[in-house]
Amino acid sequence: MTVTLQLFIGILSVLCIASAIAYGLRFRVANGKPHAVIDNLIARINAWWAMVGVVALAFACGKETLIALFALLSLLALREFVTLTYTKRSDHLVLALAFYLCLPVQFALIWIEWYGMYSIFIPVYAFLLLPIIAALRADTERYLERIAVVQWALMLAVFCLSHVPALATLEIPGFEGRQMLLIAFLVIVVQSSDVLQYVWGKLLGRNLVAPKLSPSKTWEGLIGGVLSATALGAALFWITPFSPLQAAGIAFVINLMGFFGGLVMSAIKRAHGVKDWGHLIAGHGGILDRLDSVIFSAPIFFHLTRYFFVP
């Protein structure tokens, strides 16, 4: 508990500093007048306060609350993904099964800690059964595209995201009762990487990584962000079962996965001609805009930790 508390105080201090800097910028640079970049920065930081508050509350309530919280985030993410992509009237049953069966079952399996089932339920059972149901409706127009959209939505918004609370079920010798700190490590490192990429990009960004996909992802932001977030991960080794070097290695991998997750999700957004997935979080966009990096890094982090640290 003391570790969690120290961590929490650390995060609050960082947010205080960030808010102070942002309001300082509004005062000094924008002279208190509206300024697109600074106003967006303040909106983003305010949203961070709210997000940290929600997650901290869930942490305080325990593992079950955390699973319920991620089930809700998963629902919001799934709706954003399906809203943007193409499905037809004849896909209604498939969508109903995705929202009202696959999603609750996946999180229930994590709740009861049935690893053998939650790691194949969506990639095997849902993957094979949903196309069968769709085919029975005998509507072949853009069939593969329509069913692939539902499969992708389930994989990203439900399966991958459910690996975040699943971390709390890993049984690591000598780390009993502290597994929720693995979730804190993953979320802090990956989200810091996003923020640091943004900061490095705004300060030094010149060369775009993928000009067609994203106007804000630069090589300077990528390298600076990933390296500094990796250093942060190493510095946080004391909340994990990892040594400093191991923590750095794992942080590096999940930061890279997080970056490429953002890139893939940008590609999907560009393909549909939108900038954001939704409007739920002021300054950030939708849930998926905030969680894209976590979605791509969570299963990798889960399996690396499970493979190397769970006997």
Partner: protein, 204 residues
């Protein structure tokens, strides 16, 4: 009291299910306004209602078909008491009152209206059905009332015809600029222009 509670629950359900929002919010006004929308499901007017602010919503009534909403006691209760719909008779042979006259009276009382000029739910793949002439006659008789296109996006995917379980997809009501009035414009041209403005609202 009961009506208020049920109305609140209906709006809450619509908001939670669809995350309904208005784009742009500034389009909502408290002046008497005719919002005209595409019609894809029975929930259409709820969505437009849900994105209006409280003051605007309290004086806004959906225009609905009397033959449907007087169908049975439950529908009558919902239509008259919860929704406070302005019920009009679609079949000219059964009409006791002129629908355009009814709508004008409501506007004169300071109320706003939600109108579905397609007259029936659009279950085709076409973006809009041909508009009925009511909107034109209304525009003729009340030249100063704002006619605002309000395109309802995505609701047909939430609950397609014949389905019972709603899917919680995000819905948006896109408001366009009030329709300009052109002196001497004939009915057919006016209705085409209204249709075009409704489709264009989504692209704003």
């Amino acid at each position: 009291m009961l009506e208020k509670a049920l109305r609140f629950l209906m709006l809450l359900f619509a908001r939670v299910l669809t995350g309904a929002r208005a784009v742009p919010v500034q389009a909502i006004s408290r002046e008497p306004t005719v919002y005209f929308s595409n019609h894809v499901s029975h929930g259409d007017f709820v969505l437009v209602w849900a994105v209006l602010d409280k003051a605007a919503r309290e004086r806004t009534r959906p225009v609905a078909a009397a033959d449907y909403w007087n169908g049975n006691a439950i529908k009558r209760f919902i239509g008259n008491r919860i929704v406070r719909a302005l019920l009009i008779e679609r079949d000219p042979a059964k009409r006791l009152e002129n629908p355009v006259e009814q709508m004008c009276q409501a506007l004169d009382r300071g109320e706003s209206l939600i109108l579905f000029p397609e007259g029936t739910r659009n279950l085709t793949d076409a973006p809009l059905l041909a508009f009925k002439s009511g909107l034109f006659h209304l525009a003729q008789q009340r030249p100063n009332v704002r006619l605002v296109p309000a395109f309802i996006d995505n609701l047909h995917r939430v609950l397609p015809k014949g389905e019972v379980i709603p899917i919680p997809l995000l819905c948006t009501v896109y408001f366009g600029a009030p329709l300009e009035r052109i002196e001497g414009e004939v009915k057919a041209d006016f209705l085409i222009r209204a249709q075009t403005s409704l489709l264009a609202a989504k692209k704003l």
